[in-house]
Amino acid sequence: MSPILVLDDVSVKLPAGGDRAHAMANVSLALAANEILCVVGESGSGKSMTANAIMRLLPGGVTIDGGRILFEGRDLCGLSEAEMRKVRGAGIAMIFQEPMTALNPLRSIGDQIGEMFELHSELSAAEIKARTLALLEEVRIPDPALAFKAYPHELSGGQRQRAMIAMALALDPKVLIADEPTTALDVTTQAQILKLIRDLQRRKGTAVLFITHDFGVVAEIADRVAVMSKGEVVEAGETEAVLGNPQHAYTRQLIAAVPPLKAPPARTLSDEPIMTIAHVSKTYRTGGFLGRGQRVTHAVKDVSLVLPKGATLGIVGESGSGKSTLARCLVRLIDPESGEIRLNGIDLASLSREEMRSATRHIQMVFQDPFASLNPRRKAGEAVAQGLIVHGMARPQALARAKELFGLVGLDPAATERYPHEFSGGQRQRIGLARALALEPAVLVADEPVSALDVSVQAQVLKLLAELRQRLGLSIVFITHDLRVAAQVCDLVAVMKSGEVVEAGPIGTVFSEPQHPYTQALLASIPGRDFGEGRELAHEPVA
């Protein structure tokens, strides 16, 4: 079949003074009708730039400086702005990562979808409304008439993305570019959206250029795949061939870093619990006036769990499940309303704020965002030494200890003098780990510690965590939304939904024989479930 969209040796130049000269270097891709081509890569690989280059919607100062982009035989690079506008939306449509910000918050959904027809057709207002409603029906939004009138903030994330898809497909474009369309969504919603895209694409014969960082998604949806690194396509081919038998070293390393969903053989756990969580609850009340019309949210509802000494307890769930609130209750960043949190026999939940301040040395936390979790105005070494100083160590000793800790987490001890912005994401997460470990806590609460990291960096941090657990005899509470990661690091797992633990047990058992329907749905939703089965998580750094 002849390709409908061809990128022929395309290069995109970045403004002078950046860390590299080209966002894309000599990229060649071909997309045929009725196929899904996945462009996969880590952050900074130039995969999103590819989408923007095709649409000719590049940020200021960034220009295409070589090659041709052929759409139905016409070179898009040579079109005038007015001709290009006719192609956008009608010929090539696009959906984005974050449906909340990709929709205008001040205009209704129907209005924004209808705009497609206004721009590219001569339909009357009544016809536009009818067509828009039909589109909303087609993307299976629950109540199309209601969604038509709704504003973006009144819909859920999944519904918003459905509306975006309806908008993109309004004029039956030949090509749909999907730029990480499911990254911001929960795993169950993601599964539905992927299915929707697949179904619509099959029915309409659309050519889809699907940009993602997730190999699971690639395995789930792609017909063909192109792997990008540093602005270049390093490998391309049929999905099964590339995933099953990667040729390029980079692809191999990348695929090896994806954690398989199957848990490794169980370790024997100690019978002695280090922390017992009993009947912990936290509710939020919002809105209302003088007690009337209040909305009560049960963020955490009667949760009871046990963490054996030296074990890792995973808490998994989708956004809004209460897993982060629970984590913050454990370290008393949030005060639980009721329940006990016994650590070494002391009930943390009943301590006064002053008592808790000294008890913090036994339980420490690692945070999700490597950029937000370090004070930008404090040297990395000071950040690590801070806890020691607060708990009574003299400053010079504390700073010396910080250097040792830097070594422990695999950072150069000389780097203590640097400021956080001089480190990469993975390195910052190591600093966060060193800060938490400085107080030699008995329990480490890790809140999505690798979620913000690229897959290869994620593998390294997970490896470090496993080593430290072994060496220091740490007990860990590991919060994550990523079941693949949970499978690799946790001994025990608790699945949370709407503030409650719906199922808990040894990870191997829960993942292979899920009992609760929600756990089953969650596991069934993971894209590319079987991908990576039967191999071990590689820990080798990616070059």
Binding site: R85, A93, A102, P105
Partner: protein, 325 residues
């Protein structure tokens, strides 16, 4: 309806604020050297202590501070602002006479500042870092840095003394008594320079805010969505950017209503307009504390009223307010 109830709730919330202001200013004025009676006696050319005592009893000034405060607030609840000894009229009457000029000046200046601030801000943002932007931004800075009263004086020199196009002051021509349309035109002519004087400063602020907010909104994701639909830049700006960019500007109007009313004190003095601001100035000079307190009350009400309108406007612009999540 939900818009109204929302704005109504905000309105109710401003009642404690109002009382806080009144109590604060009332107590503050107790610290002032000399009270109304002193001022009155001075105006009468002095008098003996017995008369002063009598007058103090008459005005209730012999009571304790707290009793006086209680009296004052109780009278306020009945909308009685007291009696101005200096003007020999109830304070409410004095203020009512002066209010129209100020409201007219405020409305005119605000409309002028908002309208031109909006347009110039959009033009500057569309041509960011090109010559129209540089020109508009420079002019904006100049107007911002100019003392309003000085601009007023210089405008009088140029337009009233040198060119003789516009009157130098006053609310209307008192030498001839116009009626109807002719009078309206006369008042409008008198208000041109005061409006420019007060309005240009705020126009400078609004244009800067509008420019910044336009540039910020132009970088948002949904603008990229609009472009990816094949929309041209003008339509992108009109249909998607403008309304979003207006929100910070509308908020600012509410926040600055008080400052603007304060600015009218100076402008009304420069152009001898018989407004509230000038009345405030005169009350300070003449130590007419009752009137001053009345002005504080009425100005606070005005600011609260402006904020009420701004709330309604904002809720109309932003559906998230009323159907909020």
């Amino acid at each position: 309806m939900r818009v109204l109830s929302l704005a109504g709730r905000r309105l109710a919330a401003s009642i404690p604020t109002l009382f806080l202001i009144l109590i604060g200013v009332f107590l503050l004025l107790q610290l002032a050297p000399g009270d109304t009676v002193d001022a009155l006696m001075a105006q009468m050319g002095g008098g003996d202590a017995a008369t002063a005592k009598q007058l103090r009893e008459f005005y209730g000034l012999d009571l304790s501070v707290w009793a006086q405060l209680g009296n004052y607030l109780w009278r306020l609840v009945r909308l009685d602002l007291g009696f101005s000894a200096i003007y020999g009229k109830p304070v409410a009457t004095v203020i009512a006479e002066r209010l129209p000029a100020t409201i007219l000046l405020m409305t005119a200046s605000l409309s002028f500042a908002f309208f031109f601030g909006l347009i110039l801000g959009v033009v500057a943002a569309r041509g960011v870092n090109k010559w129209p932007d540089t020109l508009i931004s420079t002019l904006g800075l100049m107007f911002y840095a100019m003392p309003t009263f000085w601009f007023g004086l210089m405008a009088i020199v140029v337009f009233s003394i040198y060119l003789q196009w516009l009157p130098a002051g006053g609310f209307e021509d008192i030498t001839v008594s116009y009626t109807g349309l002719r009078r309206t035109l006369d008042i409008a002519l008198h208000l041109v320079l005061p409006t420019l004087t007060l309005g240009l400063f705020y126009m400078a602020i609004y244009l800067r805010i509008m420019r910044g907010s336009m540039l910020e909104v132009l970088n948002l994701d949904f603008v990229r969505t609009a472009r990816s639909k094949g929309m041209d830049e003008t339509r992108v700006v009109v249909r998607h950017v403008l309304r979003n960019a207006l929100l910070p500007m509308v908020t600012l109007i509410g926040l600055q209503a008080g400052t603007m009313l304060g600015g009218s004190v100076v402008v009304e003095s420069v152009f001898s307009l018989p407004g509230l601001g000038r009345l405030a100035y005169e009350s300070v000079i003449q130590r007419d504390l009752n009137t001053l307190l009345g002005i504080v009350f009425v100005s606070a009400l005005l600011v609260i009223a402006v904020n009420f309108i701004v709330d309604l406007l904002y809720a109309r612009l932003d559906p998230r307010i009323t159907t909020g999540s």
